[in-house]
């Protein structure tokens, strides 16, 4: 490895592999095609089309990658089938990670379980499972996401608005009551390293109280420091390098103690939704993956051991073929990184496994039913790209959290793609398309170039601390806004064929129920009274000390959760231990 950058390592290996000259087309065929192509271009194609041969599509959170008028073998003249494509469940995994893909097993149909009290969400999970959902996806309310207890002043008005509130172990007991958590996999959307380290141990304590061994539990957490330091708005942050360390503490803990759990979901999704291209979305997530591999190597772990449970999370948006190509490109690139930079031996370590959620920012307030169609295309792109797990956004995204009807419609969209369109019968159906293969190559190159940019800045935690990513996001989103304003980005019904007399249709939203906060506060009061408060205090002091002394902090949050510490109490211990940080602001 030495001091070579990821890009240098991959380029030298691929040059070597391509020396064999095993490209798909023989030079003679290409020569003939070149001649016929030129002839066609100069005689059949109009002068205007020749002049505008390359056009750049602009879309919401698109990558602005130029496209030619038509693609031919000339655009993929170097394609080496064995090196670049291969077979599903075969290197380089461009075509998918399972040999039979969706014939063998459909993707996990995982819809977010909505907002409300722990008891309400328990019913909602059961409702979705009864209607065919194959996994659970727990959205947390903002107080829980931001690590505040329901009774803190900041939580006023925010309890149970966009997810479920969790203050301590008893809330997990209510949420997962009667759910077989050893069989149904639980995705717990703990966005940040800190709230993963605080909340997930409460889940584990719930599981052990119900008699489940930790080694039996399937599921995933998010645990991504980009979410905490770049994507989210908040009243307080800890420094990126410390947050990155907590991210890796969680990984080390989970890998050792909860081996079936996906310990990180490298979240391109929310970064992209905040405002980046599909290329940056993947470059940052993969750069985080690289930073994790390096950190775990430093801690003495074998790359194959570390990589086994890494997962990714993407946002398929409007540019249909770009989305299909992107997932294929990231799968191939991650394989190459694992294989050539980290010498992974286990095929599983090289798999870019991903959950996708259809893009929310692409959905519009105006004429919301059009969003049903948008989300269906996003979902189809994800499946044609070979995703492992999917959430389809509700059409009411720009109104409120999804209601029961729109949530069910999301699930129905998944079932329709799976059972009616028949796109699942054939593995990687777009593989071999001149266009899709050329775009896959182009996107892979662009992602690698951005990873290189990050590495030149000193790696991802350093690049974030310097404000590189914050700056990139703000310039992207302002430019995007201008492109919507001047019509370069067309949004149907909003700036393209807008109906001047458009009226808002009736959308059923969930009213805010302030009683839930009162109930949570009462439960919390009782909880604090019944626990051993001296023990809790000792555990919280241990967290502060572990942070300062560089010990794996998550072993200490587990002890605190067992003793009954609440989320807000643990958040304050983290802040005391690491101090605060302010990201650069461009507003």
């Amino acid at each position: 490895m030495g001091d070579k950058s990821t890009k240098e390592i991959l380029e030298s290996v691929l040059d070597e592999e391509r020396k064999e000259g095993n490209s798909l087309y023989n030079p003679k065929a290409l020569e003939v095609i070149q001649q016929s192509f030129e002839k066609w271009k100069n005689t059949v194609v109009s002068e205007k089309d020749r002049e505008n041969w390359e056009m750049t599509p602009h879309t919401i959170i698109g990558s602005n990658i130029p496209r030619g008028l038509i693609y031919t073998p000339l655009d993929i003249a170097d394609l080496d089938y064995e090196v670049d494509l291969g077979y599903s469940e075969g290197e380089p995994y461009t075509r998918g990670i399972h040999s039979n893909m969706y014939r063998g097993q459909t993707w996990t149909q995982r819809q977010l379980s909505g907002a409300g009290s722990p008891e309400y969400v328990n019913n909602r999970i059961k409702f979705l499972l009864d209607h065919g959902a194959t996994g659970t996806n727990l959205a947390l309310d903002l107080a829980t996401v931001q690590m505040f207890d329901s009774d803190e002043p900041e939580a006023d008005g925010m309890v149970a608005t966009v997810g479920v509130p969790i203050d301590c172990v008893q809330d997990f007991e209510s949420i997962y009551k009667d759910i077989p958590i050893d069989k149904v996999s639980s995705s717990i959307v703990t966005h940040y390293p800190r709230n993963t380290s605080i909340i997930f141990p409460m889940y584990l304590v719930m599981a052990e109280k119900r008699g489940y061994g930790w080694d039996k539990l399937p599921g995933s957490v998010q645990n991504d420091f980009i979410m905490e330091n770049v994507v989210r708005s908040a009243c307080e942050w800890i420094p990126p390098k410390d947050d990155f360390r907590v991210q890796c503490d969680n990984i080390e803990f989970l890998r050792n103690e909860v081996p079936k759990w996906n310990y990180v979901t490298l979240n391109g999704y929310n970064l992209r939704e905040e405002g980046t291209s599909g290329v940056t979305e993947m470059a940052v997530a993969l750069a985080n993956g690289i930073a994790i591999m390096d950190d775990m190597l430093r801690r003495g772990y074998d790359p194959d051991w570390t990589a086994k449970r890494m997962a990714f999370f993407w946002a398929p948006a409007n540019d249909f073929f770009e989305e299909v190509a992107r997932i294929r490109a990231a799968r191939r690139l991650w394989y190459r990184i694992m294989k050539y930079k980290y010498q992974a031996k286990d095929p599983r370590s090289c798999w870019m496994r991903c959950h996708v959620q259809t893009s929310g920012i692409s959905l519009q307030r105006v004429e919301p039913f059009v969003n049903i169609v948008r989300a269906a295309y996003h979902a189809l792109a994800a499946i044609l790209g070979g995703a492992q797990s999917l959430h389809v956004d509700g059409y009411d995204e720009a109104y409120s959290v999804p209601g029961e009807e729109s949530s069910l419609l999301g699930l129905r969209t998944q079932q329709l793609i799976n059972a009616e369109t028949q796109v699942t019968q054939v593995v990687d159906p777009l593989g071999g398309s001149f266009y899709v293969e050329a775009l896959t190559d182009d996107i892979e190159r662009r992602i690698l170039d951005e990873i290189d940019e990050v590495e030149k800045l000193g790696g991802l935690p350093e690049a974030v601390a310097k404000g590189w990513l914050h700056h990139k996001v703000i310039s992207y989103l302002l430019e995007e806004e201008r492109m919507i304003e001047d019509g370069r980005i067309k949004v149907v019904a909003r700036n393209y064929f807008r109906d001047p007399n458009v009226k808002e249709p009736p959308v059923v939203t969930q009213p805010y129920d302030s009683k839930i906060r009162d109930q949570m506060v009462d439960k919390l009061k009782k909880w604090r009274k019944e626990r051993d408060n001296d023990k809790v205090k000792g555990c919280l002091e241990d967290i502060v000390r572990a942070g300062k002394e560089g010990k794996n902090i998550t072993y200490y949050t587990v002890e605190a959760a067992r003793a009954g510490a609440t989320e807000g109490e643990m958040r304050r211990a983290f802040t005391e231990s690491f101090g605060t940080w302010r990201p650069p602001v461009y507003a």
């Binding site: 708005s233 307030r365 507003a587």
Partner: protein, 140 residues
């Protein structure tokens, strides 16, 4: 607030736990491009929003909200604004994602303009200008 200065001063904030900032950043830049002065204070308690508005002597208080809390916290902001004597002098507006049925309630509380996803630069700037004009009894 001062009616003779040239630039309109806007305070922009989010409620304490709001996790989204894209809307606030976008609007802050739009308003600046329209010649207004923007003081962005980020995530803040209602008390902090109102005390900053007093301290910064702003003409407009804008709150970006996407994840709920608009009714409970909006009411608190307006109550504090009344107590501190800025309810009648400053224009209060809100933008983001909230259910349509909350809109009349927010208007009644005193939020004079509400902006939802898709609101354009002109919508926002013109509406704010009109609201200020009405408040001052003269067009700005």
């Amino acid at each position: 607030m001062s009616s003779d200065r040239e630039k309109i001063r806007v305070l922009l904030a989010q409620f304490p736990l709001e996790s989204h900032s894209r809307g606030a950043f976008t609007v802050a830049n739009m308003l600046r491009d329209s010649g207004m002065e923007v003081v962005y204070i980020g995530n803040s308690l209602p008390e902090q929003i109102v005390s900053s508005a007093v301290q910064e002597n702003v003409d407009v208080v804008g709150i970006s909200t996407l994840c709920g809390g608009e009714l409970a916290l909006g009411e608190k902001v307006m109550k504090l604004a009344l107590e501190k004597g800025i309810k009648d002098s400053a224009v209060f507006v809100m933008g983001g994602i909230f259910p349509p049925e909350d809109e009349p309630k927010l208007k009644e509380m005193g939020f004079e303009a509400l902006f939802t996803p898709g609101a354009t630069r002109e919508d926002i700037a013109n509406t704010i200008n009109d609201c200020i004009g009405k408040k001052r009894g003269a067009k700005v």
